[in-house]
Symmetry: C2
Subunit: 198 residues, 2 copies
């Protein structure tokens, strides 16, 4: 990495931590610059606008999510093992100590749903891609006879996604001690019901 | 209502609309005062702090949610009709044209999860109460023999709650056209599986 890339990377990593607590809209270029001991114009030299920085945070998080959650899952055998690994690593991601503010995508989803523009567009693209990974993994399992023929793969994707968000809510807001156990049991039952009857 | 109460009410209703789009932290007393054509000190005369206004927004929304969702559901016969009405009215609440920014509780849940303080405490109390309404409605149904004896009522509460949040996400962020149909079908299946085997 060049010096410039290193600085850029440091800014994104720091800003991501702030955004995970205060939201993407809670970022202030002025406050970031002073906390990073840079001038505002020095920071703007790396990111032309706050929007550009927000997209960069989401892009970096998306690469991290691919690396830590999606890719390891896709390496698993098709069917239940693949979806189970995806869900398992996703819960770990939501609970990760490196992101004390929780999942940046979930927070951004409810923050930006009414903020049209390029940041929202980028987020929607990422979230749709994840939705599609779940639905396609289920479809592959149906086509291979591992899941039952009449399974609605889109419905399963919505259910798995809802469960991950519901876990985030129950764990991080309500602080339910058994949130993880409940979410895992619900997921297991979703998978059991997806199996062929025989 | 006295003149003072009317003004207070007008401030809360206006601020709630702003918060539904920009979040509770996105409120600015200065901006609100100028949009309501009041002085900042005039607005502060009604609410001693931004926190007090944020709690008032949540309190007003909680009363509204009780009136529009919880009370009509609790008037239904126990078991499936009661939970079905709750879920049905909840989806209507999430989609209500009066709150173009979506459900203030769901938005606040992901905004405030890392912001300790009285606003978060108030929100958690409200959200726990809702969780308990679902779990208790299920418990009553189990005790009356309407739902199966081994139903985990807390797990059902998490699943119903997750589905409502998941619907909000799929509808308002992803803009999936069939989000409502999928969420309703998932809910129907949750209820069908809660019924006794015979």
């Amino acid at each position: 990495m060049s010096k410039g890339e290193e600085t850029r990377d440091r800014i994104v990593r720091y800003a991501a931590r702030v955004a995970s607590r205060d939201g993407l809209e809670g970022l202030s270029i002025g406050a970031l610059a002073s906390e990073l001991e840079m001038s505002k114009s020095g920071l703007f030299a790396h990111f032309g606008s706050k929007q550009e920085l927000q997209i960069e945070i989401l892009r970096a998080a998306a690469l991290e999510f691919e690396r830590k959650v999606v890719h390891p899952a896709l390496k698993q055998p098709r069917g239940a093992p693949r979806l189970r690994t995806l869900f398992d690593l996703w819960l770990k991601w939501v609970n990760a100590p490196e992101t004390p503010g929780g999942c940046v995508f979930i927070a951004a989803a409810f923050e930006l749903d009414d903020h049209p523009g390029p940041v929202r567009d980028f987020l929607v693209e990422q979230q749709r891609a994840l939705f599609d990974v779940i639905a396609r993994s289920a479809r592959v399992a149906v086509d291979s006879g591992l899941f039952r023929k009449d399974l609605d793969c889109e419905q399963l994707a919505l259910e798995v996604h809802a469960l991950a968000i519901g876990f985030h809510h129950a764990r991080r807001l309500l602080r339910l001690r058994n949130a993880e156990a409940l979410a895992r049991r619900s997921f297991d039952q979703l998978i059991t019901r997806a199996l062929p009857a025989d």
